[in-house]
């Protein structure tokens, strides 16, 4: 384990830029910490903290100048690896020469500050896109990851329950644990080793070397939410007619926020269009949400006509059918869907409500 001081951290980010990477890191925009293109360590949210709750997100001022003294904003790596809107292909009408779409990437991404939940979320999306989508694969394989162990748990976080954090265990080249004056750095890959070797570090002291474990175990005790995941797929499958779905549907606005901030939701529309001169057709991929009526639109009618059926689809997919489809839960416990739900619907609460009445509630067969 190495110790990296603040100037060394700045140098690490500079070395990534020099190597041709495009830095993607946390930055304050419109009252939230988002992931954006950054130029270096000076763009990071020093001294910024956050307060989260169901339907609540507020930036705060910390007493210190830490760069990563917050849990996470609405963005995850998904926004860059699987962009909200992306041209897949341009094809001329005559079919002769194909104009390849312009990939807007300035260079391979170097993600700075992703958390354990975010890294797990990328691993979850890998199972969807890696084999099927060469563009995703290219981006994903080229990307570098300077991750951060969480020192703060958000009030809506439950990675501890999902086994996805708070300590980073997968998917990073380097993982940092922030101290008041610098970082403890651990290496996960050869690339991480090379990157770290190129900047000034020193061997971490014995106390410093204990920090990653100490900090993350302490964070784990401060998780704002908890979820009993035992037998979760079967619990949800057998409760497809539970009255709770109708109850939550009365609060749910079907606004799609939860699916937009979810770091694993992968549903998308394939949208075909044509240029104004109508000689080039464009195929675009856009994020879609199972909360919209057209998501299930089939041969002139929606399959899922009610908000209850759409909420059930989302939750059951995330926690149950995802396991059948991809061999992993679709939830990484980041809690973004709770924080960014305008009416504060809490998945952990909804699942618990079903669990405590499992098998007790009279259901009618529709």
């Amino acid at each position: 384990m190495r110790y990296l001081d603040r100037p060394g951290f700045g140098a690490l980010l500079r070395s990534l830029v020099d190597a041709g990477y495009e830095l993607i890191g946390p930055a304050v925009r419109d009252g939230a910490i988002v992931l954006d293109r950054i130029e270096g360590a000076d763009d990071l949210p020093a001294g910024v903290g956050e307060e989260q709750g169901p339907g609540t997100y507020r930036l705060t001022r910390r007493a210190d100048e830490r760069l990563f003294g917050w849990a996470h904003g609405p963005d995850a790596g998904k926004r860059y690896l699987f962009p909200p809107r992306e041209v897949l292909s341009n094809i001329p009408r005559d079919g002769s020469t194909r104009a390849d779409p312009e990939i807007g990437d300035g260079g391979p991404f170097a993600f700075v500050g992703l958390r354990s939940c975010d890294l797990h979320a990328i691993a979850v999306q890998d199972r969807v896109f890696m084999d099927a989508d060469p563009t995703y694969r290219r981006r994903r394989e080229a990307a570098a990851f300077i991750a951060v162990n969480c020192g703060e748990a958000g009030a809506t976080c439950f990675c501890g329950s999902m086994g996805t954090g708070p300590r980073c265990t997968i998917g990073f080249d380097i993982v940092l644990t922030e101290l008041d004056d610098g970082f403890v750095a651990e290496v996960g890959t050869e690339r991480g080793e090379r990157l770290l070797a190129a900047v000034e570090t020193r061997e971490a002291t014995r106390e410093e070397a204990r920090e990653p474990e100490r900090v993350t175990s302490e964070t784990a005790t401060r998780m704002g939410r908890r979820l009993d995941t035992s037998d979760l797929p079967h619990l949800l499958y057998r409760n497809a007619r539970h009255p709770r779905w109708d109850e939550v549907a009365e609060r749910c606005l079907a606004c799609t926020n939860c699916t937009m901030v979810c770091p694993t939701c992968f549903c998308h529309d394939v949208v075909d269009g044509v240029s104004l001169s109508s000689d080039v057709a464009t195929r675009t991929r856009e994020w879609a949400s199972c909360f919209s009526q057209d998501h299930s639109w089939t041969a002139g009618a929606a399959v899922r006509n009610t908000r209850a059926s759409r909420y059930r689809q989302w939750l059951t997919h995330k926690f149950a059918s995802w396991v059948d489809q991809f061999g992993t839960s679709g939830c990484v416990g980041c809690g973004r869907c709770i924080t960014w739900c305008p009416v504060g619907i809490d998945v952990t609460e909804e699942i618990t409500a079903i669990r405590v009445t499992d098998g007790e509630v009279e259901v009618t067969t529709s």
Partner: protein, 290 residues
């Protein structure tokens, strides 16, 4: 889930149609549907072949792409028939097509009808309305391999006679079916003048056809409600659940299980289906709006 994912063939890396077909003939089937017969623009379509029950993604330049089951004889994959009901933005654009127009074709996709499972016994095909379209290649295949089956029974129903597709071929079919000993029963919910066949929902034909449950493998295709009741009735008659198959329909935008639209419980209908064994989907079909 146990269902095997068939190899994905002929997908352009960027998701664009790999083959181009040229429309040769357009046959109106019902007031709101037509069959578009096409051949490949380039040679044999790069060795294109399909199995009964599979579908293609059909692309109209700049308009969009839709999943359409293949309705023609699998022995002639150079001459494809797709029956399209005009129900939305892309299918409506098909109304304007003329012979000579081009289609992008990605496919074939999906799990086919398990014809080999039915070999040696009786194959019962139950189709409602345009549900005939996805089973038609299975019927063609079974007729072509008539000796592999004991009885071949086709039960076809529609709400009214004019909603029954492929009437253009009906006489020809009746002749070859008689020659091959295929038992065909037609029925409509509401008769119209000139209708020579039965009246009643398609499930009433099970008794009339005298099916032998212990020897029967059934392929059912039609509206979901019809398939649910049809499968239920056959189950009650004693056909084992694992020998009942049906074809599901969902929104599909990629056909390679990444767009997420065609989910049915744990399944992606595009690759785990569209043909399912009844016991795989029975519980799912009983949940409203799933």
């Amino acid at each position: 889930m146990s269902s095997a994912v068939p190899a994905i063939r002929s997908v352009d890396p960027e998701g664009f149609p790999a083959r181009t077909a040229v429309i040769q003939r357009i046959v109106p089937e019902t007031p709101e549907s037509s069959t578009f017969w096409s051949t490949w623009r380039d040679g044999d379509g790069d060795g294109y072949a399909f199995e009964p029950g599979q579908f293609n993604m059909l692309y109209l330049f700049g308009v969009g792409e839709i999943p359409i089951s293949i309705s023609s004889d699998p022995a002639h994959p150079q001459r494809l028939g797709h029956t399209i009901r005009f129900v939305g933005r892309v299918t409506d654009a098909f109304r304007n097509l003329r012979p000579g127009d081009e289609l992008g074709v990605r496919g074939p996709f999906g799990r086919p009808w398990p014809l080999h499972e039915a070999e040696g016994g009786d194959l019962l095909v139950v189709a409602g309305g345009l549900g005939v379209c996805p089973v038609r290649p299975a019927i063609e295949w079974a007729m072509r391999h008539r000796d592999r089956f004991r009885r071949l029974i086709l039960l076809v129903g529609a709400r009214t006679p004019s909603l029954l597709p492929y009437q253009e071929q009906l006489d020809e079919w009746l002749a070859s079916m008689e020659r091959l000993g295929v038992e065909l029963h037609l029925t409509v919910d509401r008769s119209e003048p000139g209708w020579l066949y039965g009246v009643g929902v398609v499930t009433t034909l099970f008794e009339k056809a005298g099916i032998e449950p212990a020897r029967t493998t059934a392929f059912i295709c039609g509206p979901e409600t019809m398939m649910r009741f049809g499968a239920g009735d056959l189950l009650d008659l004693g056909v084992p659940a694992e020998r009942l198959y049906l074809s599901m329909e969902r929104n599909m935008q990629c056909a390679i299980r990444i767009c997420g639209h065609c989910q049915l419980g744990p399944y992606f209908v595009c690759t785990d289906g569209p043909v399912f064994r009844y016991d795989e989907v029975r519980d799912l079909m009983e949940v409203h709006d799933l």
